[in-house]
Each structure stands twice: as structure tokens, then as C-alpha cells.
Symmetry: C2
Amino acid sequence: MIFEEKTISSEIAYTGPVFRIRKHLVETPGGQSIRDIVEHSGGSILVAVTDEGKIVMERQYRKALESPFMELPAGKADPNEEPEITAVRELAEETGYTAGKVKHLVSFYPTCGYSNEHLHIYICRDLVKGETHWDKDECIEIMEFSADELITMILNGEIEDGKTIIGILFARQAGEI
Amino acid sequence: MIFEEKTISSEIAYTGPVFRIRKHLVETPGGQSIRDIVEHSGGSILVAVTDEGKIVMERQYRKALESPFMELPAGKADPNEEPEITAVRELAEETGYTAGKVKHLVSFYPTCGYSNEHLHIYICRDLVKGETHWDKDECIEIMEFSADELITMILNGEIEDGKTIIGILFARQAGEI
């Protein structure tokens, strides 16, 4: 038996450049409780496969962990932007590639316990290389690996980014890479 | 070339029951920028396999999406708690099971772009059923599925929780289920 949690009251408790926090007071079967929700516009993630069968990866510094991370290219949706538009835009901005074929693979919630962030993974083929257009505070290293190399890096714990693990393992399980 | 982002200043901008927000002013190659980081104690996730080869799943209401979600059992670490202790505690509290065998599968960061949350997945076998001990605001439905059923639900988009997709696909890729 699943009980809906009725909102008694809610308010914006914090607003920042990437997300805001909405604090809810809710009614649960056990009484009232606080639910802080990260409100985030979501984003899109790219499994971009070159004509040589390599997958485009990025390495960038992540302040949250004070460390560089190996990730699939990805980006935050602009307000009211369709996920496939975000995908095509971010692939071009971050890697310089445009894709002849773009196909939706899977959508998921990375932290459904406390955030409404919704992420959408696309597989891109027929890539054509152009210029990158990074945001002024972005600093990205572009690399390419075979699918088998990435699977090995995931199994070894060398890839620690959740969206990247999902993109590669899902694409492999679906027979796409 | 990866540039470290030096912190110019940082402060706690919000404190709630599950996480707090630390706002950083950082130096990037393109100038100063704001980095809001969700500070979270992390947690553990269980791929608990019964003697019949079924995997224990939970269905619970998630306020962030105003919807019930199908998930692997999981829980937040208590302050300074070791991830394997969190795993064993949460398995018992949420599902009533204790496990004779507990093995680490993989650790990952669900949202490295703006959170330090670190999640750890364990596979549990030799399960013995006992009593559940839910938090007063938890309301959970326990279900069991075969690994093949869960893989199909992931490929069909019926399972949308990121940590659950990683747990099942990683365990399958590693030959554990």
C-alpha cells in the first residue's frame, strides 16, 4: 500500500545558479515530515559513437569532489528546452561534433529521493567534427575509448560518474555498442 | 589540460534534514564562478538475492516526483558510518532481511556536477527473513523479481531510478545475477 504524501505547505528555501531548494511540510502515515527537494531543470547525456566505433568522453574538474571526472558529454537543459534539443546543442558545444543520427536510449532520475532532476540519454552516430563552444567557466579534455575499454573501466571502478555508468551499461545491454 | 578550481570563499547557504548547500566562489580559467554544492552523507544500496534467485525490490512514494518509484533497497549513511554497516542496517530495517554474505559491487557519484553524495552498492546472499523497522515517515511495499524481469523493466523504461539501474546492470555485467 503506497500513500501519497499530501503537501501541507511549501516554500522556496534557497535559490542558486543551477538549482533551487523547495521545502515541503508533508503528511505521512506516521505524522508530519519535512521534504527538501532540489528543483533542477534536468539535462541530456550523449553516447556519441564515431565512425571508427569509439565513444566520445570528457574529463573535467568537478568542484563537488575536488577531482577530475571521466564522463559522457552532458549538459543542463535551458528553461523549457526539449531534451533532444539539449542533447544536440551540448554535443556540439562541448565536443564540436554534430550528429547525423540521434536516438533516445533511456531516461532516469539520478536522485529521486530528494530531487526532481530528470536525465535523458541519447545515442548519436554519423558524427561530423566542428568547433567547440565551451562556457567561460568550462575546461574540458576530450578523449575517445572503445565500448569494451569503457566497460572494463566501469567494472574496475575507474569510472565513478553515475550517468556515465548508466549510459554505457544500458547501451551495451540494449545491443547498441 | 584540467585546471583545479581554487576556492576563493565558501559558506553554508542552506541546512536541511537530509543535506546542506555550500556556496563556493571559485577561480576558473575563464574568471570567477559560483559553485553550489549539495553536501550529503552518502548511502548504501542493496542487490539482495533470495535463495530462489529473486531480487528484493521496494516501491515507495517519492515526494520529489509526486509518484511511487520501484527501487532497490537503499538508505542514507548515519554520520561517519562505514558504507557496509549502512548496507546491512538498511537491508534489515527496510526489508527485514539479514544477509549471510555481503560483497561490495561498485561505488559511484549520482550527481558529481553539484553534489558530493557517494553511493555504494553491495550484493547480499544467504538471506534470513526477520521484522522490518521503518522510519516513522517511511511507507514501503516489498516485492521480488527475477534478474531477467528487472533487466526487461529497465530496457522498457519501467524502472526510472538511477541507482537501481546501475545496481542491476552492473551486477548483470559482472556476472553476479
